[in-house]
């Protein structure tokens, strides 16, 4: 594909966004009734389902129980139809295992696990359509599902990716937020940051792709963290909307019961 650039001369990205713009985020909480909490999240064309079970008592694998906090188990999986070429294995490959571990770490530091000693929380994530920043979308969806399940969190966990478009005509290179699949394949570094925006703390940071020079890390990380803050605003609005809706529904059904 000749000529695709991360950032064109007129300052737009491949899909028409400006460097600081996120993709459109749409989300819905409580999409399933079986799990304790669930959420569906779209970040552009990246679509993710999250389901949370727990906290519940540890049945299998009792050895993993912690006496002072909850044990968290995350499972990342990608639907075989999520990419343009069919995937062979939905989960359990190296990459997914690494994702599982990262997710575990993120949520162990975000969930107030000390409130649930000797219990276990399961977070299941399924990527339905992959179009870049899959891991970030998973983290964001899991946050919503955890909130839906009523599990206390220190703050929203928001994750966002950023990359760096090479310099043009003497201008410094431009950092760009929320990387989509085309941009991922165009090369350039990829920084993935998960933060607790209101606590201003970073829970997970990962750098991949081509090497990034030390002097560029700050602007790129800065971009990712503003991106994460923007995502939080969207999630917060969705959560409040959802709660309002639930309350409204309860009032309605309450009235119905009285009548």
């Amino acid at each position: 594909m000749a000529g695709l650039q991360l950032l064109s001369e007129y300052g737009l990205r491949v899909d028409g966004r400006r460097p600081n713009e996120l993709r459109q985020i749409r989300c819905k909480m409580g999409v399933f009734s079986q799990p304790d909490g669930s959420a569906y999240l779209e970040q552009g064309n990246t679509k993710v389902l999250a389901a949370v079970y727990g906290p519940h008592e540890v049945r299998l694998n009792r050895s993993k129980t912690h006496h002072d906090r909850a044990y968290i188990n995350c499972q990342f999986s990608m639907a075989v139809f999520s990419t343009s070429e069919r995937k062979r294995r939905p989960r359990g490959d190296r990459k997914s295992q690494e994702m599982d571990m990262n997710l575990n770490q993120i949520f162990e530091s975000a969930i107030r696990t000390e409130l649930y000693p000797r219990s276990r929380i399961d977070i299941y994530l399924e990527v339905l359509q992959a179009d870049g920043s899959n891991f970030s979308a998973c983290v964001n969806a899991a946050t919503l599902a955890l909130i839906d399940a009523g599990i206390p969190l220190k703050d929203y966990v928001c994750s966002c990716t950023s990359t760096l478009a090479p310099s043009q005509g003497g201008a410094p290179p431009t950092p760009m937020v929320d990387v989509n699949h085309v941009e991922e394949t165009l090369g350039g570094p990829g920084l993935n940051m998960s933060t607790l925006p209101r606590l201003d703390s970073v829970v997970h940071l990962e750098l991949s792709g081509t090497r990034l020079h030390l002097s560029h890390i700050d602007p790129v990380a800065e971009k990712a963290s503003t991106g994460a803050a923007d995502i939080m605003a969207v999630l917060d609005k969705a959560v409040r909307g959802h709660v309002a809706q639930c309350l409204h529904a309860r009032e309605l059904s309450g009235q119905g019961a009285d009548a």
């Binding site: 899909d15 028409g16 459109q24 064309n45 989509n180 002097s215």
Partner: protein, 968 residues
């Protein structure tokens, strides 16, 4: 801020994949016009005038122009005159241009950047101008529709509620698009129609490109001259199933009906012959070739053929017979024919007009200066003015029915024969950047008066009291290296090489750095130097002049008296050269045993060590090659060359060279150890044995065997090729051997395998360039890497990016090659000037024997050319020459011409054709009655039509390692 309308795009490639992409449409994109009061413009986006100037007599209302893709691709020369302004470029168009031609895309961006009132409208992401592709619609049709939609939108948008409006005119050379646009009620014109109405600028018409989109319409009645090209799809399939091969076409310099294609993965290049074989390929084009069956394979013809004479019309005269008769029982090489052009590599060509037969005609033939390029038909209304000028022309198209390609006039350079014009031609033909340094570049220079500061002193080693001196050719103002040497108490020697610290002044990423990187190298012409960095740096601050304090980058060794390295160290330093000497002065000091000061002792020490180093090197198999280098003594008033001298080599030349080699090797080792992935190195690939075949054959006839299997064996067998009766023989062999070599190139170590790092000519495993940062950009890059290695400087991000470095290396290699050719062309130009009104007899030697010619080298001038021994068409020679292919000889009566034989020739300049001056040689000795001419001392008779056409620029494998000072 963000309108988000997701839409779906399908693309298919290779295996069928459905690709879904998001595409955001926006409302914050503006139209860029001062006229518009609706958009919220950012000040930098306001480009188009509120009241655009009216140039056209027919379309005499205020309007903007909107260009279709084909206009930008073909009519760039008109756009670059900057007559037209207030132009809207669509994103759709720009992207199509980028996919089609990156060079035109760059030129387009330059126009936009120059603020010529070109506005880029991002129509694809604009909510109202975005169009979805329909089913069964080609992307081309969709793009045309998008362009028309944008015109429509602009017309609506630029209408005020009061009904005042500005129109937008669509310029397109695509008739379909034009018709559809007119049907839609838009104003659409072809470039020609529009330019014709510009009465103030009639000469724009000359620059009109004549590419016709309704192809082949011009000559349905005649039989086509060339076979049709295959379609892109056929080519794709053909290449996939192996029936077709692809490669770059190189036209032959000696024969306009012959060329070769280098195909990847084949050791021999594919030969192409005749009009049909070449099938409209122009030098440099990327072509698809079909191999002929082995029975039809041919051999490179041994005739020298030029496309002489005027325009024969659209016929192909039977020139090809000459070719066919050439193949008899000779070793045949793979032969093919061009079936399609994958990508044209046309550029602009310098040359002259060959006037048509009739006065006032507008069709003329253009003859390019580069012999590998065919003649071009152009249309011009100012032929009388241009007849005496060198002009630039671009090719537009080459139809099947036309013998020559069609082109258009771009600009005139100046009077033919004028030295400045000819120099300009030379620079343009070799693509050498020769504009003045821009203000942005000059702003990066240090402010004068410049002095060494305290900070410099703190971080550098002070070597001001060491006895350092520099040795260079006379008149050299860009001194980039200096040396010192003294004996240590333990009997060993300390030797230091001090290189100008250019990277201290040229910081990465600045405009100065970018310009230097683009220029790549300083170009030395006979009468002129084109600097890579501004003069303040090259001749002053970086030049290590005598008795002046300068910053330098030092490489210091401890050497045993046997020239073995015990230790190496690098550091940035401050030096003060005691004396800047010429090679001759240094030689005198060394030879004068009465001088015994530090300087003389140091020089002698260096000289002795250098001899030992050289011995070590040649023992390892380093080659000693030769190429004739000449200097002109130029009259200081008129700048006419007065005298030609061959450059002399002294001991001191080789002394400096040895230590530069040593420094380069030490630095290469160091930076590779520190940066295995991104070190900038220089390699010289081992030439394939097939390269040596012609030389081996002609040497065999002289009774010498050439061992080409190893570098060492080769160098030894070169030493053995000596003939006592012909003292120049060995030199000739070395000159020819040099031509068999491949080019040495810069590369980035992460891009190729370590076993390919080797430098064949120098017989060292790794090598780089460190010692001439004033005139080579590669050295600056190496300096930066080394500075990081020793902790003297920061790392910059680009240095670690091996793809970026590789790109830079590619440019450097290209610039280097071009600079070399330009240098040689400049020598040739001055030789021509030198021979004006002069006839001289000179001693020459036969380089090659061809079927119809002898190629002769005149060492005194470093000149070579062809003597035709076969009669031209319609001519009768009183003598006949017999060609022996096995023995590589031409025999005429009792006289036998062998390769390497000395001959005497008479040189004169043929000025009968003012457009193209030729250096004509006539054979003087050996005497062949009826063929040779008497020596100039005797009264001359009617000269014979035997001529040697001197070459303007040789492309043959040049001695890559040889630079201005013979340094490597």
């Amino acid at each position: 801020m963000k309108t988000s309308k997701v839409f779906v795009k399908k693309t298919k490639r290779g295996t069928i994949l459905k690709i879904v992409r998001e595409h955001y449409l926006r409302t914050d994109l503006t139209c860029g016009s001062y006229f518009c009061k609706k958009c919220f413009h950012a000040p930098k986006d306001l480009i188009l005038d509120e009241v655009p100037e009216i140039l056209s007599s027919t379309y005499n209302f205020h309007h903007y122009l909107l260009l279709d893709t084909n206009i930008i691709l073909d009519q760039m020369d008109i756009l670059e005159t900057k007559v037209l302004s207030n132009i809207i470029l669509l994103q759709t168009v720009l992207e199509e241009v980028r996919n089609r031609s990156s060079s035109i895309y760059k030129r387009t961006l330059d126009l936009v950047g120059n603020k010529n009132k070109y506005y880029t409208f991002v129509n694809e992401h604009h909510r109202e101008t975005h169009v979805e592709s329909k089913d069964c619609e080609s992307s081309n049709d969709r793009n045309d529709r998008a362009i028309r939609r944008a015109v429509e939108w602009y017309n609506e948008h630029l209408t005020t509620p009061g009904g005042v409006s500005l129109k937008v005119i669509l310029l397109t050379d695509d008739r379909n698009n034009r018709d559809l646009a007119i049907a839609q009620g838009l104003i659409a014109l072809s470039m020609k129609d529009y330019v014709q109405t510009l009465e103030k600028h009639p000469f724009l018409l000359d620059k009109l490109s004549h590419k016709s989109y309704d192809a082949d319409a011009d000559g349905k009645l005649r039989a086509p001259l060339f076979p049709a090209h295959l379609s892109a799809e056929q080519v794709h399939i053909g290449i996939k199933n192996g029936k077709l091969l692809q490669g770059v076409f190189y036209a032959s310099r000696d024969n306009f009906l012959e060329g070769t294609v280098n195909v990847d993965g084949m050791d021999k290049s594919v030969l192409l012959q005749g009009h049909e074989g070449l099938n409209r390929a122009v030098d440099g084009d990327h072509v698809a070739v079909e191999m002929l069956p082995e029975t039809q394979w041919s051999a490179p013809s041994e005739v020298v053929m030029q496309d002489e004479g005027g325009d024969p019309g659209d016929v192909n005269p039977d020139e090809e017979q000459v070719l066919e008769s050439a193949v008899n029982g000779k070793e045949r090489t793979p032969t093919g024919k061009v079936v399609a052009i994958i990508r044209r590599n046309w550029r602009q060509y310098c040359g002259v007009i060959q006037l048509g037969f009739y006065q006032g005609a507008i069709n003329h033939i253009f003859v390019p200066a580069e012999r590998k390029i065919p003649k071009i038909r152009i249309e011009t209304r100012q032929a009388d003015v241009l007849a005496n000028q060198r002009i630039i022309v671009a090719i537009d198209s080459w139809s099947r029915y036309s013998r020559y390609p069609k082109g258009h006039f771009v600009r005139a350079l100046g009077e033919i024969g004028d030295k400045d014009t000819e120099n300009e031609v030379l620079l343009l033909e070799h693509d050498i950047p020769h504009t003045k340094f821009s203000d942005a570049v000059l702003a990066c220079l240090p402010k004068m008066p410049w002095a060494i500061t305290k900070e410099d002193e703190d971080c550098r080693v002070d070597l001001r009291n060491v006895c350092i001196c520099s040795v260079d050719p006379p008149g050299c103002t860009d001194i980039d290296d200096a040396l010192h040497c003294f004996q240590l108490p333990n009997g060993n020697y300390e030797v230091g090489v001090h290189i100008a610290d250019v990277s201290h002044f040229i910081r990465p990423g600045t405009a100065l750095d970018k310009e230097a990187s683009r220029r790549g190298t300083t170009v030395y012409l006979t009468d002129k130097r084109l600097d890579m960095v501004p003069e303040l740096l090259s001749s002053n601050l970086c030049s290590l002049r005598g008795q002046e304090e300068r910053l330098s980058f030092s490489c210091i060794w401890e050497l045993t008296p046997d020239a073995q390295i015990l230790s190496t160290r690098f550091h940035k330093s401050i030096i003060c050269s005691k004396k800047a000497m010429t090679y001759e002065e240094a030689q005198l000091i060394i030879d004068d045993s009465s001088q015994n000061d530090d300087l003389a002792l140091g020089l002698r020490g260096l000289n002795n060590l250098a001899k030992k180093l050289k011995k070590q090197r040649t023992d390892n198999g380093a080659l000693v090659l030769a190429s004739p280098e000449v200097r002109f003594h130029v009259d200081s008033e008129t700048h006419e060359p007065l005298e030609v001298v061959v450059k002399k080599l002294r001991d001191t030349n080789s002394m400096v060279e040895e230590f530069m080699l040593l420094a380069n090797i030490s630095v290469a080792t160091r930076i590779l150890a520190e940066f295995p992935e991104c070190a900038i190195l220089r390699r010289h690939p081992t030439p394939p044995i097939s390269n040596f075949e012609p030389l081996m054959r002609s040497l065999k006839t002289q009774g010498f065997d050439l061992d080409v299997t190893t570098g060492k064996g080769f160098s030894d067998s070169l030493d053995k090729a000596v003939k006592p009766e012909n003292p120049f023989f060995n030199n000739m062999v070395r000159i020819l051997a040099t031509r068999c070599m491949l080019q040495a190139v810069y590369f980035c170590s992460g891009m190729i395998q370590p076993d390919e790092y080797k430098h064949y000519g120098l017989a060292v495993p790794i090598y780089t360039h460190f010692t001439s940062p004033i005139r080579r950009y590669a050295d600056i890059m190496v300096h930066r890497l080394l500075a990081v290695c020793i902790g003297a400087d920061h790392m910059s991000p680009e240095m670690l990016d091996k793809n970026f470095s590789n790109q830079v290396c590619k440019n450097l290699n290209y610039r280097n090659r071009m600079a070399q050719y330009a240098g040689r062309a400049s020598v040739a130009l001055h030789t021509h000037l030198f021979f004006r009104n002069k006839i001289q007899d000179e001693q020459g030697y036969i380089l090659y024997v061809r079927k119809n010619a002898l190629l002769i080298l005149i060492p005194k001038y470093g000149l070579e050319g062809t003597v035709y021994v076969a009669p031209k068409k319609g001519e009768v020679l009183p003598v006949t020459f017999v060609y022996d292919e096995e023995q590589q000889t031409q025999t005429c009566g009792s006289v036998v011409f062998n390769p390497f034989d000395p001959v005497k020739v008479q040189l004169s300049l043929d000025q009968s054709d003012r457009q193209r001056e030729k250096l004509v040689f006539k054979l003087v000795e050996p005497v062949i009655p009826g063929f040779s001419v008497p020596s100039v001392e005797l009264p001359t008779e009617e000269p014979m039509e035997v001529e040697i056409v001197s070459e303007k620029a040789r492309p043959a494998a040049p001695p890559a390692k040889r630079t201005k000072k013979g340094k490597r």
